[in-house]
Amino acid sequence: MHIVVCVKQVPDWDIPPASFKVDEAAKKVVPPPGVAPVPSQFDAIAVEAAMRIKDAAADTKVTIMSLGAASARDVIKHGLAMGGDEGVLLVDDAFNDLDSTGTATVLSSAIKKLGDVGLVLTGRQAVDWDLGVTGTLIAEMLGAPVITFAKSVTVAGGKVTVERVLPDAFETVEAPLPAVVTVSNELGEPRYPKLQQIMAAARKQVNQWGAADLGLDAAALAPRLTLERLFVPVTDTKVEIMEGDTPEEQADALVRRLQEAKLI
């Protein structure tokens, strides 16, 4: 079976909150100098989900697909080092600043172009905008069912079986292939590529397609949502640290303050 994993390149989220900066005029995040972009967290986990399927069925082919700047080749290479077979890089000036519908239009067009795809895996949400819509939109555009928030994904007999994580429950959901599944962190840690695999990934094929290759024009990519403003919220809480020479004194001070504030 052919699996496509959609991986987005995002600014590293693991930075101190104080170094998070926004250029309000450009409505863009300014990454701190020297901090390289990374594969979105849940997308690396989606690659892991694909590799577990491949571990169980050797005739599985895994394509790593990313839409973004030319640098998105790095996140494709990372997926290939984890064990992916081929990459598809979608770059074009016409793809800059797409909304989710535009992004899903490009990704689903590329998936259609591949032709024989049985399963599409995405992250539950990209860790830049935290939207969680692209997987569902790809499914709508492919006319395939979608199952969100997977903690495990298995494939057998033309069906995908997914354990879903809900706030107060786990459920098992089945759907016929082709299908789209969005993957959550409960699936587990993504595997760490070995040096040998990283070197092998350098030789794996990455196809690069633009709007013309996919038969897409500006009208097909017109945004439905417009970003009006991006800013960093100001918080003005001032913490009162409990004084005391011992933990007991600190704890007593806290309880006293809570009683004064009529909280206990």
């Binding site: 989220w13 101190p16 909150p17 998070f20 926004v22 995040v29 909304d99 989710s100 519908t101 860790v127 830049d128 905008w129 935290d130 969680g132 819509v133 569902t136 939109l137 499914a139 709508e140 069912p145 979608v146 199952i147 969100t148 928030f149 079986t161 994580v165 706030p167 107060d168 429950a169 786990f170 459920e171 098992t172 959901v173 089945e174 759907a175 299908a179 959550s184 409960e186 439905r224 949502l225 417009t226 970003l227 009006e228 403003r229 991006l230 960093v232 809480t237 913490v239 009162e240 640290i241 409990m242 933990p247 600190q250 704890a251 007593d252 806290l254 809570l258 504030a261 909280l263 206990i264």
Partner: protein, 320 residues
């Protein structure tokens, strides 16, 4: 002409869930025409009368809707929306709303703004504000398509309870293809106060060093009549169940007292608790981000601070 606001009602144990009244409140405050609700499920018609503050309740009641599936619920919501013809559709950022909103929006040739915390009509168009970048930023969006579909973060909107019940309109619905099926479900059992409803939440983080670290957390929560929460690091390590996770991809809580013990206060964690009235942080690192959001703090090792705090609370309770 499209007009008014349609909200997706959700039920819990047969009665409107808190998110329903929050959505009705948000819809009324938009001042964008009549507020109506859609109620989707099997055997739910009787609950329609308990949805208040709306002019109309569109009920899609069908055996195919007994269990939530993306296919069947999307079809039902599309049917209700086509009958109501709203300018704005609001859903909760709940497990249902998260899954349903993008599919519903796509089927209506529009888009969904997810996880919004503020909504406003400007020049006749909906503008939404939502946290992005793990809560580090805020993004304001407007719609270039109609109707405007938005999910609303639980507890971000004041609920409107009471008012009169709406006129019930049954929506004609024949389920089309339903491709995915639920074959099993296990519900996380929880004892004591529900995390989302608790007035006191005591949350433990990775700094507790292991599941045994939660003994003190449980004891303090019990003393204060509260619930136990966990950071994602803790849930991922399997020290506590996922159902206790607070944050962007966990639950949203807004208790009177939120005590975070050995939690660093990453923006994605704060996304789930920043609405708490009083955050109390216990952390050995005075630079920890949690102190930036806290009202009261103790800098120290939880191993000594937590027992001392439990003793002090017991003493205070005995004295009262």
């Amino acid at each position: 002409m499209a007009n008014g606001v349609l909200v997706l009602a959700e039920l819990a144990d047969g009665a409107p869930a808190p998110i329903t009244a929050e959505l009705v409140g948000a819809a009324q405050r938009l001042n964008a025409g009549p507020v109506s609700a859609m109620l989707i499920g099997s055997g739910v018609e009787g609950a329609a009368a308990r949805i208040t503050g709306v002019e109309t309740v569109y009920v899609v009641d069908n055996p195919a809707l007994a269990e939530y599936t993306n296919d069947a619920y999307t079809q039902a919501a599309v049917a209700a929306a086509q009958q109501a013809e709203p300018a704005v559709i609001l859903l909760g950022q709940t497990d249902t709303g998260r899954d349903l909103a993008p599919a519903l929006a796509y089927k209506l040739n529009t888009a969904a703004a997810m996880d919004t915390i503020a909504l406003e009509m400007k020049d006749g168009r909906l503008h939404t504000t939502r946290p992005a970048y793990g809560g580090n930023a805020r993004a304001v969006n407007s719609f270039a398509a109609a109707p405007a579909v938005a999910t609303v973060r639980p507890k971000s909107q004041d609920a409107v309870e009471g008012g009169s019940a709406g006129r019930v309109v049954k929506v004609d619905f024949a389920a089309g293809a339903v491709r995915s099926h639920v074959t099993a479900r296990t519900v996380a059992s929880s004892e004591g106060v529900r995390l989302e409803d608790a007035d006191v939440v005591v949350t433990g983080g990775r700094g507790l060093g292991g599941p045994e670290g939660f003994q003190g957390i449980e004891e303090l929560a019990h003393l204060l009549g509260g619930a136990v929460g966990a950071s994602r690091a803790v849930a991922d390590l399997g020290w506590r169940p996922v159902a206790e996770q607070v944050g962007l991809t966990g639950k949203v809580v807004s208790p009177t007292i939120y005590i975070a013990v050995a939690v660093s206060g990453a923006s994605q964690h704060m996304a789930g608790c920043s609405g708490s009235k009083n955050i109390i942080a216990i952390n050995k690192d005075p630079e920890a981000n949690i102190f930036k959001a806290a009202r009261f703090g103790i800098v120290g090792d939880y191993k000594t601070v937590l027992p001392a705090l439990i003793a002090a609370v017991k003493k205070a309770k005995a004295g009262a």
